[in-house]
Symmetry: C2
């Protein structure tokens, strides 16, 4: 048994059975070992950013890490943006980076690169396996570290000779996962007292946005009358008819400030203190109102749903009646705009589906229109590095066990990682992509004026404009093997969406929205 | 004048007038400043790896840096692979990375990331501008540093508030470039003596591969009878009818060893000591024969062409007659394979064109078939990070002043950065892309056996196979606005190639080669 076989064996023993990969020469023994360790499934991606985003999406829906397989520093560089998003989402990923043979490093061959420097920007566990005997236990340590709490990207460097050399003593390749501890005694009572006495806002994030946490938050809200918000870009938000629905903390600092206005105490459960996504010349970075006390009920390293349940109990909050649900929107007709797009999604979203949302400006109506759709999971771009949607949809679909994935994309965003479509086709994944296209980096047109920059210049506007030529997104999708069509009215979108949901495998809908900026 | 306008002014004053960009919110003032500084041209790229590869291609054909504009750490991550290639090519690039406002950093907003850590893996100049007054002089220092010698990637971080705040004293934003020194006295005489006495091999790289260095190398070769090689992946190689043509050092260590076999002295001019591209279980990493002395005539920080001329003079080498040229290959007919592909390129390559070569296994016959084509420049993937070709062709075409760029791509490689095609269409660049497609990571199929890994497994082979679905590369190109067709015979390739050369703007030819591995 060589190091590569030992590594794959360690993955299998620790339930890491999916590897999204884009290998090179230094990873050939890892690739060869796929035939020796049947439990591990390799999924080929044409670009490393697809592999890393897929590992993120997989972990979000399964709670377990997938592995990536990347080729030296440049491969890690290509994977970086979506690993950044995963880092911000606190999901577990086992990031495997092949490297030159240990003895080859001194020759500074062309692909030699400082893998550790790049990985350090991911702020997670890092190790380079030094000997074949270490590979199994290093992998186990990486997997254990990836679970956290909080979840993180663990990067294991696998030198080629460590991969190809024989293992004498495989060590102890079983991961010991840390128990997620309860919040410290005292904080629950302190928060309960504060919420009884003062006007409170409860901000939920991380695991508090799964069903258990939301149910407890609903009890707390009905008992105290506090308003409940969720962080702007959740890792996974459980939602839909009957599920307690916090309000989203607005992306725009101006509106977020209004949501927090008047709060005397801000209680954080699984969320960090809210800050503006970007800085702006005349807007404060910190969103918490002056004089508002901040109490951290549960940070990322404790059991946030458990803390919310303890808080609900401390408040003697009864289980509330199921949230009354309004009717879902009807099927829209007429022009295709952000409103009718949202209605189309809201009217058709199937029960148990996973929504991957990288719709940006085009998706402003989506959360409102889907709150009473059948229960579903909602994944967002937690780290703000664009190019998340299609790759995450790949991973979510691999992990979702046959549930439909609905990926709401946008034209600018999908152009970072369009290669993900090929993996969807190759693996026959049940993904419906609705790509909102308005031929513009619309959010940047908005931000251009918002940061106080001169908005009028033609040369500046040209840098935010996606015309000349217009992207034919449906043709791009078909070129990667995904059936695709372009729709220009709400009626056409409804028909195409419904057809896609009923058709196994991926399909792509280019939804042409009128741009508000052109 | 704000920091952004000051920065663009400094670029213009230092002849950095092209900026390949993919901006985000923190770069909006830079974008707005494009309307204030008419000398600087912004070129929009849909993905940062296109911007960085374009800056590399631009610098190779012009000798001057272009700027990139990237969005925080994830933008730098996406750009990293092609910056790695540029680092290995020793070309000057001014890499501008927008960042959060300085005061915003402490809030750890979602896009906060350790830009310096990632940049450190580029091993070049790095600075974050601290104040608006510093921006101009920081840019000048970055540009000066980028020129080297040797050329390097200089990374300037531009915090949003430094960009938007007013400049009081703009400083001295003019770059002082270092003079490239002559090689030390003594080394020329030492090398001349060694080459007179012993069997010598002269290995050329870097600037020694431009016309001046090659002419001197030709004199040295005819005077001493030494064999002359060029490094495997040149930054820019001048070549064609009448130009002295060194032999390429083979990519495969086995063959490279044979090329160096029997050498008693290896003279390096602008090249590093040759090493194997990858390590293999039973092949030495160092390629220099045992007992062969290595003499560095010129390293990367001295004037390599000047050193070669001095050496030729010291050897009293006459100017050789112009290299006798064989006929160019005729237009091929019949099946399309690596041989007829090479003949087609060799028969039609226009004078003065720039070839960007990322053909990998499909291009094995290219150098031989084009050596007697009219004079042209040949650019290769110096760093081994795949996804170089299309982006470099963008930058080369922007810098080439109307000369045709011929980009010989391959299917796996182009799938890393296909978005470059959109910028070709948008800017109307005169690029002929010939994309060799064989539905396989063919080089990895070869490497899989070469590293000694089990070659037979079906699951391993599937990870190197680009079918199921087959990539419709011509459709991808058309979806980005580039006219495209697919050819399956040599005759069709000749017709399509000729038509493309005669048609302004980009065109794309998907050249279907029979795979040797399927």
């Amino acid at each position: 048994m060589n190091g590569a076989v030992s590594l794959l064996g360690a993955l299998a023993r620790n339930d890491v059975t999916t590897c999204f990969m884009n290998p090179g020469t230094s990873e050939m023994h890892f690739v060869a070992a796929l035939d020796d360790v049947a439990e591990v499934r390799g999924i080929l991606c044409l670009f490393e950013g697809v592999a890393s985003g897929a590992a993120d999406g997989f972990a979000r829906v399964t709670g377990r890490p997938a592995a990536t397989l990347l080729h030296l520093g440049p491969g890690l560089g290509n994977a970086f943006a979506n690993l950044h998003n995963a880092r911000r989402a606190h999901v577990p990923i086992l990031n495997i980076v092949g490297d030159h043979a240990t003895y080859h490093a001194r020759y500074d061959a062309p692909l030699s690169s400082d893998i550790e420097a790049i990985a350090s920007a991911l702020d997670g566990w890092f190790r380079s396996s030094a000997r074949p005997d270490d590979v199994g236990s290093d992998a186990a340590a990486a997997i254990a570290a990836s679970y956290g709490p909080p979840g993180q990207v663990a990067t294991l460097v696998l030198p080629a000779d460590v991969s190809w050399s024989e293992v004498a003593h495989p060590g102890a390749p079983v991961a010991r996962r840390a128990i997620v501890p309860m919040a410290p005694d005292g904080i629950v009572d302190e928060v309960a007292q504060a919420m009884r006495d003062r006007k409170a806002v409860l901000l939920l994030g991380g695991t508090a946005l799964r069903a258990r946490g939301l149910a407890a938050a609903g009890r707390i809200a009905s008992s105290t009358g506090c308003s409940v918000l969720h962080e702007t870009f959740p890792t996974v938000l459980d939602r839909g008819a009957g599920v307690f629905a916090p309000e989203r903390l607005n992306y725009l600092a101006e509106f977020a400030t209004a949501q927090l206005d008047g709060a005397e105490v801000l209680v954080l459960a699984g969320a960090a203190e809210p800050v503006s996504f970007f800085a702006y010349p005349s807007i404060a970075s910190r969103l918490v109102p002056d004089g508002c006390e901040v109490l951290q009920l549960a940070d990322l390293v404790v059991d946030a749903p458990g803390a919310l349940e303890a808080l609900a109990d401390a408040l003697h909050a009864p289980t509330p009646a199921t949230r009354p649900t309004a009717d879902r929107p009807g099927r829209p007709s007429g022009p295709l705009d952000t409103r009718s797009l949202a209605a189309a999604v809201g009217s058709l979203l199937p029960e148990g589906c996973v929504v991957v949302d990288e719709s940006n400006t085009s998706g402003v109506g989506l959360l409102g229109a889907t709150v009473d759709a059948p229960p579903h999971e909602w994944l967002t771009n937690t780290g703000g590095a664009i190019g998340f949607g299609l790759p995450a949809a790949v991973g979510a679909a691999v992990g979702a066990g046959g549930r439909r994935v609905v990926c709401i994309e946008s034209d600018g965003s999908m152009s970072y990682t369009p290669q993900a479509l090929w993996t969807m086709a190759r693996e026959g994944l049940d993904v419906t992509v609705v790509c909102c296209s308005n031929d513009s980096y619309a959010i940047l047109n908005y931000e251009l004026s918002r940061v106080g920059a001169t908005a009028g210049g033609e040369r500046a506007k040209a840098m935010l404009d996606l015309t000349g030529p217009t992207l034919d997104l449906a043709a791009t999708a078909r070129s990667y093997g995904v059936p695709a069509e372009t729709v220009t009215t709400a009626d056409e979108l409804v028909v195409a969406f419904e057809k896609s949901l009923a058709t196994p495998g991926p399909s792509f809908i280019n939804a042409r929205l009128a741009s508000i900026f052109r």
